[in-house]
Symmetry: D2
Subunit: 275 residues, 4 copies
Amino acid sequence: MTEKSPIPVVVNGALGQMGREVIKAVSQAEDMMLVGAVDLNPEYLGQDIGEIIGIGALEVPVLNDLQSVLVLATQEKVQGVMVDFTHPDSVYENTRSAIAYGVRPVIGTTGLSDKQLKDLEEFAEKASTGTLIIPNFSIGIVLLQQAAITASKYFDHVEIIELHHDRKADAPSGTAIKTAQMLGEMGKPFNPPKVASKETMAGARGATAEQNIPIHSIRLPGLIAHQEVLFGSPGELYTLRHDTSDRSCYMPGVLLSIRKVTELRSLVYGLEKII
Amino acid sequence: MTEKSPIPVVVNGALGQMGREVIKAVSQAEDMMLVGAVDLNPEYLGQDIGEIIGIGALEVPVLNDLQSVLVLATQEKVQGVMVDFTHPDSVYENTRSAIAYGVRPVIGTTGLSDKQLKDLEEFAEKASTGTLIIPNFSIGIVLLQQAAITASKYFDHVEIIELHHDRKADAPSGTAIKTAQMLGEMGKPFNPPKVASKETMAGARGATAEQNIPIHSIRLPGLIAHQEVLFGSPGELYTLRHDTSDRSCYMPGVLLSIRKVTELRSLVYGLEKII
Amino acid sequence: MTEKSPIPVVVNGALGQMGREVIKAVSQAEDMMLVGAVDLNPEYLGQDIGEIIGIGALEVPVLNDLQSVLVLATQEKVQGVMVDFTHPDSVYENTRSAIAYGVRPVIGTTGLSDKQLKDLEEFAEKASTGTLIIPNFSIGIVLLQQAAITASKYFDHVEIIELHHDRKADAPSGTAIKTAQMLGEMGKPFNPPKVASKETMAGARGATAEQNIPIHSIRLPGLIAHQEVLFGSPGELYTLRHDTSDRSCYMPGVLLSIRKVTELRSLVYGLEKII
Amino acid sequence: MTEKSPIPVVVNGALGQMGREVIKAVSQAEDMMLVGAVDLNPEYLGQDIGEIIGIGALEVPVLNDLQSVLVLATQEKVQGVMVDFTHPDSVYENTRSAIAYGVRPVIGTTGLSDKQLKDLEEFAEKASTGTLIIPNFSIGIVLLQQAAITASKYFDHVEIIELHHDRKADAPSGTAIKTAQMLGEMGKPFNPPKVASKETMAGARGATAEQNIPIHSIRLPGLIAHQEVLFGSPGELYTLRHDTSDRSCYMPGVLLSIRKVTELRSLVYGLEKII
């Protein structure tokens, strides 16, 4: 890898929690070179992003003008990549700008509308510019979901348990709902009943997602973010579990996306497409 | 133990699933001696109970007259014990008969009414005859429940997950409800909310038992009988789990009860009282 | 399925523990028809196999001459299948006989030598007869192993924990060793150390399989057969777990094999090849 | 509680990782009042400890002279408490100083020699000053260990699995060794073998602690600090598990110790003694 020229990377939203992790990960990747850090927060304008986040000087100042920083990503031997963790309001424009400058976007910001997605797809296609829109950078969750889809061909019974810290307000979690949807799309009704079941206390059997898949949500302090998919058939149980303990777990997915986007010529949606 | 005279034991309901396990367990215990086997099923009348259940001859025929068999348990050096796994309709009379004959009852049959229990309590008291009524012989579950009660003094957050095979019709399980009741009796409201929580799909957060304890019921083929109690506080999780895979798991509790009942002079309810 | 003619099935080793399960499973499958049951145990010769195993008469007597029973499997509209759970000493001859009669073998008996396997491969090829050699019929384990292989491309750290009842003498389990081998064949050294690790008590870090994969073996009464593969990377854990509680769990794999072997024209080894 | 006068608390080692957590916890406890913060780190001398750790001004400056701060803890209506998370080299002197000033020590710093402990015990006894020496403030671990000791009376089979991040060099963990010791002190040999077991790969069955208790150590990135104690008997499994995800988990133990030490008149060692 070190023989090839490193990939120039711009991080947009560099001072956010995800942005800081990306700065760290990119600056430690041998095949990448951090060339720019953008953030609208005026507090640190012009200061070195490495020093701000406590990993030592990187010689990259925080700037607030995306376009001038994108230019920096076009002056190396190989084409650059922009990683964007900003805001639903600005992500569409950011992505267009990057494509316009020939810088490949890797977008972690959520909130793009279907219409915006379609626009960006056409725009990337015309420009032949690889573009990745990734709502969830966890490789582990994608692996779990794909393993679950495979398992669902052989098991007729499945339930989902998700466990999160007690500051999470909504239940079930978005990831659990998404996992159930992916299984539901197989078009197979799960959990054919053997007996007439009866809830003597309402809610005991959980929420019912598509194709009759129950989801159970646990909320306790001490938990972080966990998901289990349990498949059962007579005499056997097959369980897939994912535990997240730290935002750093998304970085392998971010780095993989940066590498993969340089091989693409159009827009691709979802980490599962490049794994 | 082998120096002391063995405890003579009569098993009532010897041909049932639990009865057969008890026959096996008692006949292998060095400090016990199987002296009688009673069952109303006429099919095997007079045949050797050991041969019927496939563990070799025990020289104990299956009889259908409880009283004459109770007499056998009174003719040894030490007083006998009757283990009863029969039917809600007969358990009260069986217990009275045993006490009347001076044979100590260990009752695993459920279904005694409060009134019947009170009667038996008085009857055992007057006769100074140790009597054990044990709705659940699992030592593991009692240990779990006692450990949970201790933990509940130090943790404010708790949830219960119970997992059973898909032939179980009711949810939550009786054991999970009982566990929640035991925690609820502490008089402490659990799970004070940190955020206004919201079920986007009804049932996701489970059933709510006393003192705000959620219970979640999983039903899948491949599961047998499992219960988890999760305690959480900031930065830490403490989990108690019990897995049952076979009826044999109740035998240590049955043998313990047989030994303990010989030391009692009155009626005691629940395995937790003698552990 | 019911419109098509059912697949005629012969079970060799019908009175063994696996054979009995297969009889049950095949006789309940709508697209199969049990046409023969073979066993060398003379005790039940000529008796109805369904009655012997307690599921009601199937009109199929237990016979001891494989060849005459194979003939029965060739007299239906569609070609028959022989399921073999017999003995290492006879499995090679049984398989040759089946192929010779044009009956497709599904072989669960282990112990074939490499030379025997090669012979059978050639023999099946020449006869254009689908033949399946399946050392482990658990679909769940195959799914786990395949999901683990996929995960191992994205995770550099992995450990295996296997848990079994305490009557299992050898450690690690064959399945755990096989799982480690499959991961090892990826050619990637796992678990690059971050610190100089030190066992203050020998064995704490488990056995070391190929490519530096640790295997830990737990042996306790109350356990049955369980395997966990844990993948870790910074901030995230991905766990695959399989629990076996009953021999019935192998039946979906047996039925799948019966269906698939009718589509094959040569020998195939391993359930993973037909999933 | 709010009617009683709050307990005045001094934190020694206020700028360390544990010290900062204690400052936070004490300043939020209604029945306590932070009156002093001591640290030898000169960088923040004289600055407000609340501002330094980012929770807003507490009107408590960081000072470097323990004795003058101890005086502050003696000027309230109720006697004060000193929490010490400093260094093995200074902890003995710190504890003596506190006792000399009539301030009750709660000591989390490890490294006191047996001789020093004995000295402090006598010193506290003479001064009738409650003193707590607590090597591990996790209430969850103490609960787990106590529940394990209770369970070990009823189960003959037990194994310990501990799982930690891969920066942990030593295996097994100190907590696992301590747990095994506590079980071993029961004087009962665990895990009587049913079969002659055989390790086909050395280490598979883990390390062997006292009384034949196996310990298995897993090391993976993504893990934090976890311990499982598995008890097995025929047909049943009872599992105790503790997961630590954050240093905040020790704070309930610290606050409990502060409250309990005010009721003591001598030295007490170990959180298990006051639970």
